[in-house]
């Protein structure tokens, strides 16, 4: 019974949200406000029970670990941005957070992302002994040209004329290829979401509840 009711509510809300395709209307507004309200309520609940209660409240009250008060106070300072006369206190929290996180991130990001990507950009050519090796070499040339020309495109200390201008145009071409691929996959992702909703409407609601019940 509970599952059936949930499916009917979800189907109704989905159709209310889809009604915006026709035009903005009161049903869409109701669905939109319900979604926002429920999301905020849900996330406050999740954060309270997964963060505040176990990491702050329990540690102070049950474990008597009073060191936790320091980060808890810094966290509270972030909320003081809402009080103009005390908003300067939030800068302490940001300074601590940004300083600490940068210290953690810099070595790991350099070693884990930047250097491996640089290494894989500058791979030595393979001996041309097979078609696969030749293709890999061509691929490597394309990668090198793309990286170099895109870097030149974003190099603004020289005017983009003559040779620099030509190379930056090649960079622009590669950027457009990248944006095209990203746009194509974005369309694919959005269509997937639509397919997911239609799967729910057709399989779970129409086939699963209405026609089966009939």
């Amino acid at each position: 019974m509970g599952e059936t009711l949930g499916i009917w509510i979800a189907a109704g809300l989905t159709l209310m949200m889809f009604s915006f395709i026709y035009r903005d209307n009161v049903l869409f507004k109701i669905g939109e406000h319900l979604y926002l309200g429920l999301s905020v309520g849900y996330f406050i609940n999740v954060q309270y029970w997964n963060t505040f209660y176990p990491e702050v409240f329990s540690r102070i009250v049950y474990d008597h670990n009073y060191v936790v008060i320091v980060p808890a106070v810094l966290g509270f300072f972030l909320l003081l941005r809402l009080v103009p006369s005390l908003s300067w206190l939030s800068r302490w929290s940001f300074a601590f957070y940004i300083g600490g996180f940068a210290g953690l991130a810099v070595p790991f990001v350099l070693n884990g992302l930047l250097l491996p990507q640089l290494t894989s950009t500058l791979v030595p050519f393979q001996p041309a002994t097979s078609a696969a090796a030749n293709l890999a070499n061509i691929n490597q040339v394309i990668i090198l040209v793309a990286v170099f020309s895109v870097l030149i495109f974003f190099f603004f200390s020289l005017e983009h004329k003559k040779l620099v201008g030509s190379v930056s145009k090649v960079g622009l071409f590669f950027l457009m290829l990248g944006f095209g691929a990203a746009f194509g996959t974005t369309v694919m992702a959005r269509v997937s979401l639509l397919v997911g909703r239609f799967q729910f409407l057709i399989e779970d609601w129409l086939m699963g509840r209405i026609f089966r019940a009939g």
């Binding site: 395709i21 026709y22 849900y42 996330f43 999740v46 954060q47 997964n50 963060t51 176990p54 996180f101 953690l104 991130a105 790991f108 990001v109 070693n111 884990g112 992302l113 491996p116 990507q117 290494t119 894989s120 950009t121 990668i143 990248g178 691929a181 990203a182 996959t185 974005t186 369309v187 694919m188 992702a189 269509v191 997937s192 979401l193 639509l194 397919v195 997911g196 909703r197 239609f198 799967q199 057709i202 399989e203």
Partner: protein
């Protein structure tokens, strides 16, 4: 009105209606278009399939209902693969909206394959603080998660007598709806060299191919298509196990018919609309207004 003007002034609601029909038709009457696995998805599958029974895999399911159609089928397929092969998965999430969705997948797969919580799999649930959690997992699972999702102390869970830290895992699968792939790589995978397979939303796929090219990740499953390919590979290799467990056809595979048809419609629409635009432009303003 000639056809070019009709196309250029087409009411967007007509286009939406056609898209709705194109999506609904194959879901009501499936076309069973073939699914072919790409090398990137096959690499993730082979990486997992090469592990012996009893191996440990960490799955970080970092998504929420907004990317359910793309990523939940991948989680389902990976769990089916693990359980069919006797691999023990540890599942966790860094997304606050994820636990209920992921719990559903984990419990469904465990029930289908008769797997026991704590011995055959563990669901750790949600933990806030992305980078801190990742570094915490490298230091020790039990230090990071004192309890699992069901509030059982991790110190008493049998699986954690066999794996204690990130480096003890034989394979790592990241199912990502957002920007958690790079932090996992930087903070956990590169320092420990645990092989990593990635499933991501189609939106972010383009940026992650660089990590496949650089051999930092084993493979990449992009969006619903990647999930459908993984479902296809699991069903192809473990057909008997899936049938006896009563596992229905994968949601991504079923959705791919609709996805393919909509893509064809979008491509045709772009070609026809551009054709109409250029024909109208060639006619010039006088003839257009005439």
């Amino acid at each position: 009105m000639n056809w070019t003007k009709a196309i250029l002034n087409l009411d967007r609601r007509i286009i939406f209606s056609i898209v709705a029909l194109v999506v609904a038709w194959p879901l009501i009457s499936p076309l069973a278009l073939p699914v072919v696995a790409t090398p990137e998805v096959e690499a993730i599958f082979q990486g997992m399939d090469a592990l012996p029974a009893g191996s440990h895999v960490l799955i970080s399911a970092d998504f929420d209902p907004a990317s359910k159609p793309e990523l939940q089928p991948m989680l389902d397929a990976v769990l089916q693969h693990c359980f069919a092969k006797g691999i023990k998965p540890t599942i966790m999430t860094l997304w606050p909206g994820g636990p209920a969705l992921i719990q559903g997948s984990v419990e469904r797969a465990a029930k289908q394959f008769n797997k026991v919580n704590g011995t055959d799999f563990v669901f750790l649930g949600y933990k806030p603080g992305n980078a801190a959690v990742m570094r915490g997992m490298v230091g020790g699972v039990q230090n990071t998660y004192a309890n699992d999702h069901y509030n059982t102390p991790t110190s008493g869970i049998p699986i954690f007598q066999e794996v204690r830290k990130f480096a003890d895992y034989d394979y790592f699968i990241e199912i990502a709806a957002g920007a958690t792939v790079e932090p996992w790589l930087a903070y956990a995978v590169e320092p420990t060299k645990v092989p990593m397979g990635v499933s991501c939303t189609a939106v972010s796929a383009a940026q992650y191919y660089a990590f496949v090219q650089g051999k930092q990740i084993v493979g990449l499953a992009a969006g619903m298509k990647g999930s459908a390919e993984y479902e296809f590979l699991v069903r192809g290799s473990y057909s008997d196990a899936l049938t006896s467990a009563g596992v229905p056809a994968g949601a991504a595979t079923k959705g791919m018919d609709a996805q393919s048809l909509v893509h064809i419609f979008i491509v045709l629409s772009i070609i026809v609309a551009n054709l109409a635009y250029f024909i109208e432009r060639k006619r010039g303003p006088q003839r257009r207004s005439a």
